[in-house]
């Protein structure tokens, strides 16, 4: 089953996923959506780790653990990020990324 | 204790001591005392040096001392002097000594003023006594940076612009030096910055071709090498009196000294090969500076442009790459240092009375300020190369040296340079005629205070220097000659 899908195809999928995340990060205007896009990128990485473990280094678990840590940290990151979003919203009544440009040049 | 260390320590301690006093009186007393000690000490150094030489000590450098500093990089605090350095130290001592007196009446932030001034002087002393390229470079930059504050705070006219331009251009020069110094260091690959050690290395010519121009231009910028001289007119005209004195008198000499003791000394083959490029530039700057001076009306601009011409002559002499011309170049450094300091001192003194520096707005000062005017005339005569004053000795040595080259290129360059003496006469006499002679310009002039004692101290000390060199140049010339041996002998084509 798994063997029928070669690694490079899997990698293509994860890479696509990663860049979709990038694309989302670059284009979505809502800060929350941008955060979700980052999660997408992180998940692509997670998949990478897991697939590498599974395909190339079946005896090792480093990839799996790494994924777990990433998930945990992503959660922490999201928590802090959303807290800051709320703070921002209190200040400027918007969470549109284009409004976050008080400082420039 | 080594006299050379004292030469760095005394000014440093003077600056430090000034920090702890507050009244203007105390500040300038300390400054004057410190610099007098320095002057005496330089005389002692000179005496001891001549004594050593007389007793047959022919070492390349004397009074050496070495303190390990950064052993892993081969940086040592190496000090020692040869005749050239002794002469330059002597010059510095005279100029800073008179500079203190010339700024006797600085009222605004006097404490900071004297500290900056003396820090500048410390940098200059350090530069001349050190034998280690790194230390030399350190002191070089140390001497340059106080200029910014000195001009920016105590200057006049478009001082901020001038200060910035001067600092950036000089630092631009020192930026090239960094590359050059490091290039030399790594090419030699003997893990030392010591000039004497480095000079014993044979550098591959390809490397020399890269680093010689860097070093020469790097030092040349501060020596007013055409076309990198434009900081000088603005800088000098905006700087306060003592700063102009010190800058034109001593700091610009760092350029010539560096060109000789670093660029030419360490990279002789490239110097031989590339001297023609710079000779063209310096010949231009000698005549060009002089011609541009003729039409200036601001006294400081006049002096600044004439400095371009005279300092051009220094580099010109060095680039002739023989002992006589180099000897002349060093003499010219000293001579120009003294007389330009004298000029700037006098300009400052006149300015404090007339409140203008435009010569067309003044006239007849000889009648109302005879002492200062006579000093100005003496300075002028020295500048146009009157025998018996220092300028003559220097210029003639350069010209005779330059004429030792028997090819059309050097001949033409020499003749161009020599013809500057006529132009010099024109602008000097123009200034003297317009400024000092003629009818007294205005009634108020009669109320001008006569020269004060500190003004007399400043001018007379400089004039004594000019006269001593002008009347009895042999000892000085011999002292420099002996030290040029190791440098110039390497230049002889194999």
């Amino acid at each position: 089953m798994i063997e029928s899908v070669p690694l490079n195809q899997v990698l293509i999928v994860t890479t696509l996923m990663f860049f979709i995340g990038v694309y989302g990060f670059l284009t979505r205007k809502n800060l929350i959506t941008m955060l979700i896009s980052v999660e997408l990128m992180l998940n692509a990485v997670n998949l990478n780790f897991v697939f590498f473990d599974r395909y190339l280094f079946p005896g090792k678990l480093e990839g799996h653990f790494f994924s777990l840590f990433i998930i945990a940290i992503a959660a922490a990151e999201a928590a802090v990020a959303i807290a800051i979003f709320i703070n921002l919203y209190r200040n400027i009544r918007s969470i549109n990324v284009e409004d976050v440009n008080e400082m420039k040049n | 204790m080594n006299l050379l260390i004292l030469h760095i320590a005394v000014p440093s301690l003077t600056a430090l001591a000034i920090m702890f006093v507050s009244s203007q009186r105390q500040v300038r007393t300390i400054a004057a005392t410190g610099m007098s000690i320095q002057l005496i000490q330089s005389l002692v150094l000179l005496y001891q040096f001549l004594q050593e030489r007389m007793s047959g000590n022919n070492a390349e450098v004397l009074f050496t001392q070495s303190f390990v500093w950064y052993p892993s990089l081969g940086i040592n605090f190496d000090i020692g002097v040869d005749g050239i350095a002794v002469a330059m130290i002597m010059l510095t001592s005279i100029v800073i000594f008179t500079g203190v007196f010339a700024s006797w009446e600085v009222n605004n932030l006097y404490k900071e003023f004297f500290i900056s001034l003396i820090v500048l002087a410390t940098g200059v002393y350090g530069f001349f006594v050190s034998l280690d390229l790194f230390v030399m470079f350190l002191f070089f930059e140390l001497a340059v940076i106080p200029m910014y504050l000195l001009i920016g705070i105590w200057g006049s006219g478009p001082k901020e612009y001038a200060a910035m331009k001067l600092t950036l251009m000089l630092m631009g020069g020192s930026a090239l030096l960094v590359v050059g110094i490091l290039g030399v260091y790594f090419t030699a690959n003997i893990e030392t910055f010591n000039i004497i050690e480095l000079s014993k290395q044979a550098f591959p010519i390809e490397m020399q071709r890269i680093f010689f121009p860097l070093l020469f231009i790097g030092f040349g910028v501060i020596g007013a090498l055409f076309p990198f001289h434009t900081w000088s007119p603005d800088g000098h005209s905006s700087a306060p009196t003592a700063v102009s004195m010190l800058h034109a008198g001593v700091l610009m000499k760092l350029g010539g000294y560096g060109c000789l003791k670093v660029a030419i000394f360490l990279l002789p083959e490239a110097a031989n090969e590339m001297s023609w490029i710079f000779l063209i530039l310096t010949s231009i700057s000698v005549l060009y500076g002089a011609l541009a001076t003729i039409v200036q009306t601001d006294l400081k601009y006049i002096n600044a442009y004439s400095s371009v011409s005279h300092c051009g002559l220094v580099l010109f002499g060095l680039l002739m790459l023989n002992k006589t011309a180099s000897n002349g170049a060093v003499l010219q450094m000293i001579s120009h240092g003294l007389m330009t300091a004298l000029f700037f001192a006098l300009i400052g003194m006149l300015y404090s009375r007339t409140h203008t520096r435009i010569i067309t707005q003044m006239g007849g000062l000889m009648k109302v300020l005879p002492f200062l005017s006579v000093c100005y005339v003496i300075g002028g005569l020295a500048s146009l190369g009157l025998p018996g004053l220092s300028g003559f000795v220097a210029e003639m040595t350069i010209f005779v040296g330059a004429f030792q080259h028997n090819d059309i290129f050097h001949r033409v360059a020499t003749i161009i340079a020599v013809s500057s003496i006529v132009v010099t006469a024109v602008y000097i006499l123009r200034v003297v005629g317009m400024l000092l002679m003629g009818p007294v310009r205005s009634e108020e002039y009669n109320n001008f205070p006569k020269a004060k004692w500190f003004e007399k101290v400043a001018t007379v000390s400089l004039i004594i220097g000019i006269l001593v060199i002008g009347l009895a140049p042999l000892w000085l010339s011999t002292m420099i000659w002996d030290s040029l041996g190791p440098i110039v002998d390497k230049l002889v084509l194999k």
């Binding site: 840590f69 | 940076i145 490091l182």
Partner: protein, 472 residues
Amino acid sequence: MSLQELLLMRHEWLLIAAVVALLLLELNFSEAKKTNVIPAAAIIFTIVTLIGFLPSENGRAFGGMFITDPIRTLMKNILNLGVLIVFLQSGSWLRTQNNFNRVTEFYLLIISSVIGVSYMISAGHLLMFYLGLELLTIPIAAAASYEQYKSKSAEAGIKLILSSAFSSAILLFGISMLYGTTGTLYFSDIKLAGELLTVLSFVFLFSGLAFKISIVPFHLWTADVYEGSPTSITSYLSVVSKGAAIFVLLIFFASVFGPLQEVWQQVVYGTAIFTMTIGNLFAIRQQNLKRFLAFSSIAQAGFILLGMVGGTPLGMATVIYFILIYVFSNLAAFGVVVAVEQVSGKINITDYNGLYNTNPRLSLTMMLALFSLAGIPPLAGFFGKFFLFTAAAESGFYTLLFIAVLNAVISLYYYLLVVKAMFINKSDAPIGYFQSDYSSRIAMSACVLGILTTGFYSPIFEFIKKLCLESF
């Protein structure tokens, strides 16, 4: 896990102990006395820093995931020193916050971040490195938006957290590639060959770290975040966070990416040029001192890359040495900015006009700091910068060196602009005379002392050089 292994993590334990101690202390202070946390934190962190300097054990723990050796200890100590100075300088600012309950938060966030720094430096495994990196970033993002009623602060927080999330995602992608190609995450086991995938992973990983160091073109968050964050956080970001990332990059270059030297040399070479130049060009125009220092720190990062580009032990030593000096210089500058901002709320360069007449000591400190950053002798910055140049020249990168020295001249220009404002420009309404609190004066004196003496006291550099020769 033996006690021995735990002792290897002395820095981390100390920091954790500091966190715990602060929490306990805060519990015992009544509402009105919450500000007592400020001196307490200073004292505690001083102790932590000092203990850090005691001789320590070297070795590996957790099967090589955690490494302690003299060079890493030194890095941590340097950064601890920076943090201590930041703490000392931030006291007066914290006292003005309307909610004293949050005072402790500030310390907790920063110390947590420092724990991240320590782990990141000591990491022997990419997971450990990643954890450290995130632990470094996330608390600081929170701290950046510390001033809850300022929209700029929130904006800074958002920009920091989102862009660092983005960059760490990219970095992780790189790590995953690395894992895919080598099958291990231990530094010591990773054996790279110059295949394309490793280059790919290197670039991703590099960009993640470059983001922290603010190397062009990964630097754009820097100015905005520096400007919006509370100034104490800005100084932390510009010194500790940046310094940590540089140290880690050093370690990476020496260990994991050692075989890829040709590749990363080119990358460092190119980005160094851009970093210096762009940083300088932007700094020229800045009016806000914090933005100004942000761009100046970008340019400084460019100079630091000069030391790395050769990949020689000398280069590594000069980088570490420079960071030490940079800590003093930059924090002295930020100390003045903090103090002035605290008293007057003014942050623009023009506001500093005539500062010397009213506050000579502060102005002198600022001048020394800026001159040190510009590399003017006899201040420490001169030595630091010259040695960086030496490192570049050692490997024969003369063109790069040439560009760097020209950039040094440009940087002098804008540093002088500030000096000019303080010393030369006249002002109708200068910032009045004031005296900052003891701790920040101690901090600034320490910085000035560091600026004045580090260069002259050569054993410091010699020590670092020796360590680098042993370690790399």
